[in-house]
């Protein structure tokens, strides 16, 4: 154990405070895990928002909850439950998207799946009374309880997912924005959609372990949605999405360390705050443009 590991509270000396953040192994693990998850969530989330699949993504995060509860019930590691259920959920969502009778039928089917997942989660929690203590962390995350082994698993999964997205980046972008032309050009559009849902399932399972099933959106959706607001350039958008996810994770962890409020609260509030600032900023910018144009026309 490091000798310096004595909690002193916020000293307002940046160097001392930085030093403190890295003093405890649990904080180091949290920062490493948060960094890994933020990079993966930033990349996958950007494509998810582009493909308008946030509802599917949200459903996967709800499915993560019964997954974790089932794993606790069966005495298995939580990761098994998260990855197993999210993988299965991705298959179900791909099936729903593949049958695609209509957009409204699709979202109704996804919604039903989501309700079923919540019901199952509740059932598993009731069956295993002991878990009730852990319910909080299933729903709202265990940021500060990450072990070194978990960090290694996270790194392997995130690495695989990011590499897959990088290899498929251009066909996936093509299939997302212009599916008819992509198909005619030889892109396997249906397979891309299925593969992306699987990667999204991985991302959600992984993010859930950190932020809990309910706060996945703080890292997966909000930074990506903010990036899409900030720029229409694809490469810059992905970089911004990752940067924002990293910033809210690091800041959230640091703020939580020095205060009594939970990490999830800070991460969520920070990403929501940045989204609101960007939206309002863009709306004001548009207003200014409009006023300038009107003034020009009046002149």
């Amino acid at each position: 154990m490091p000798e310096a590991a004595v909690f002193q509270g916020l000293s307002w000396n940046p160097l001392t405070d930085m030093h403190q953040l890295f003093a405890y192994p649990f904080m180091v693990n949290a920062l490493e895990a948060g960094t890994i998850v933020a990079v993966m969530a930033g990349v996958t989330g950007w494509f998810m928002v582009l493909r308008r699949q946030t509802f599917a993504g949200h459903t996967l995060s709800v499915i993560a909850f019964p997954g974790a509860a089932a794993a606790s019930l069966a005495g298995l590691p939580l990761a098994v439950g998260y990855f197993g259920f999210c993988g299965f959920g991705a298959l179900a969502l791909a099936g729903i998207a593949g049958s695609r009778r209509s957009l409204s039928a699709e979202s109704a089917a996804i919604g039903s799946l989501q309700a079923l997942a919540l019901a199952l989660g509740f059932l598993f929690v009731s069956l295993y009374h002991g878990i009730l203590n852990g319910l909080d962390s299933l729903l709202f995350g265990t940021f500060l309880g990450i072990t070194t082994e978990q960090v290694v698993v996270l790194l392997a999964v995130a690495g695989a997912a990011v590499v897959l997205v990088a290899i498929a980046a251009r066909p996936l972008f093509f299939a997302s924005v212009h599916p008819d032309v992509a198909r005619a050009g030889g892109v396997p559009v249906a397979a891309m959609g299925f593969g992306f849902l699987l990667v999204l399932g991985l991302a959600v399972a992984e993010t859930s372990q950190i932020t809990g099933a309910l706060l996945v959106f703080a890292l997966l959706v909000t930074p990506a949605a903010t990036a899409h607001q900030l720029t229409a350039r694809p490469v810059l958008g992905i970089v911004l999405s990752v940067a924002l996810a990293l910033a809210v994770t690091w800041l959230g962890l640091a703020l939580a360390y020095f205060s009594i409020y939970p990490v999830g609260f800070y991460v969520t509030s920070l990403s929501f705050g940045s989204y609101v600032v960007v939206r309002v900023g863009r709306a004001l910018g548009r207003r200014r443009q409009l006023t300038a144009r009107l003034a020009l026309e009046a002149a």
Binding site: A166, A232, R233
Partner: protein, 283 residues
């Protein structure tokens, strides 16, 4: 082979047929959409695909792309089987309007036409990357879209979107361009401008163009050939042979009249919609 006065072509260049179908038929969901369709589109021809709603015009385009199999007959596209000449066929699908929230730049969309099917991430700053960027800029200039190509596509007008999508279809220097109702939802001046643009591309880049249209009039002056689909079949030929009361009446199996307005426009009268003709579909 007779072409309209607008573009006399030397017969010597007519070596390779861009598209040729012999006795072709397509079945969808157990129903024959059209059958016994034979047609030839020569290199650098400008061909209109006409016919009422539901006649199978989009189906014909998809069959040429190899997205739908032929149930009968044979087809060849640029000397190969449909779907095997992907890199040399440009395509603009029907109804692809981007909604106002779409945050994708026009230039990225055009770029996708060039490298959207390639795997992996390109290294920035390489010479092939620069070549690609130059080609994208060149083709955007060709369609007159340089002023707005870097704006999000959702914020552009229908005509601007259409021009950039034509640029996307053209960026790989195709020998065959398939445009499914590119004039749809454009106002009249834009219809005329896009039609003139496609004609110019057809001549300058020596691309065969199949353009699906609802209304013949914006393109009538530019056409080499017409494919008219109706009643589960098709006729193909020069417009002055196809757009006649006799040919269309035979095709529809019902009396059709073609009127010549004093301004040169053609009006097809008595044209029933496809479900009537097939008599096998009702609400």
């Amino acid at each position: 082979m007779s072409a309209m006065a607008a573009s006399p072509k030397p017969p010597a260049t007519r070596k390779e047929a861009a598209v040729s179908f012999e006795g072709a038929a397509v079945r969808l969901g157990g129903r024959t959409i059209w059958s016994d369709v034979s047609l030839t589109v020569a290199e650098a021809d400008f061909v209109a695909v006409l016919g009422p709603n539901g006649a199978g015009k989009s189906t014909l385009i998809k069959a040429i792309l190899g997205l739908l199999p032929l149930a009968a007959g044979t087809g060849s596209v640029l000397g190969r089987r449909p779907g095997e000449a992907k890199g040399r066929v440009g395509y603009l699908p029907q109804r692809h309007g981007f909604d106002p929230g779409t945050r994708i730049r026009g230039v990225d969309l055009v770029q996708l036409g060039l490298d959207g099917t390639r795997w992996g991430i390109p290294l920035p700053g390489t010479s092939s990357r620069k070549r690609d960027a130059a080609r994208v800029a060149e083709v955007i200039e060709l369609v007159g879209g340089s002023a707005y190509a870097s704006r999000p596509i959702g914020e552009l007008s229908g005509g601007e979107q259409q021009r950039l999508l034509i640029a996307q279809a053209l960026v790989r220097r195709p020998k065959l361009l398939l445009l499914d109702e590119p004039l749809d939802s454009l106002d009249l001046p834009n219809q005329a401008a896009v039609a003139a643009l496609v004609r110019r591309i057809c001549e300058e880049e020596r691309v065969a163009v199949l353009l699906v249209a609802h209304d013949l009039n914006p393109i009538i002056g530019y056409l080499d050939r017409v494919i008219y689909l109706a009643g589960g079949g098709a006729v193909e030929g020069p417009p002055e042979d196809v757009i006649t009361s006799e040919t269309l009446s035979r095709l529809y199996g019902a009396p059709i009249e073609v009127l010549h307005a004093s301004d040169g426009r053609l009006v097809v009268v008595g044209q029933p919609e496809a479900p009537f003709v097939h008599g096998d579909r009702h609400a």
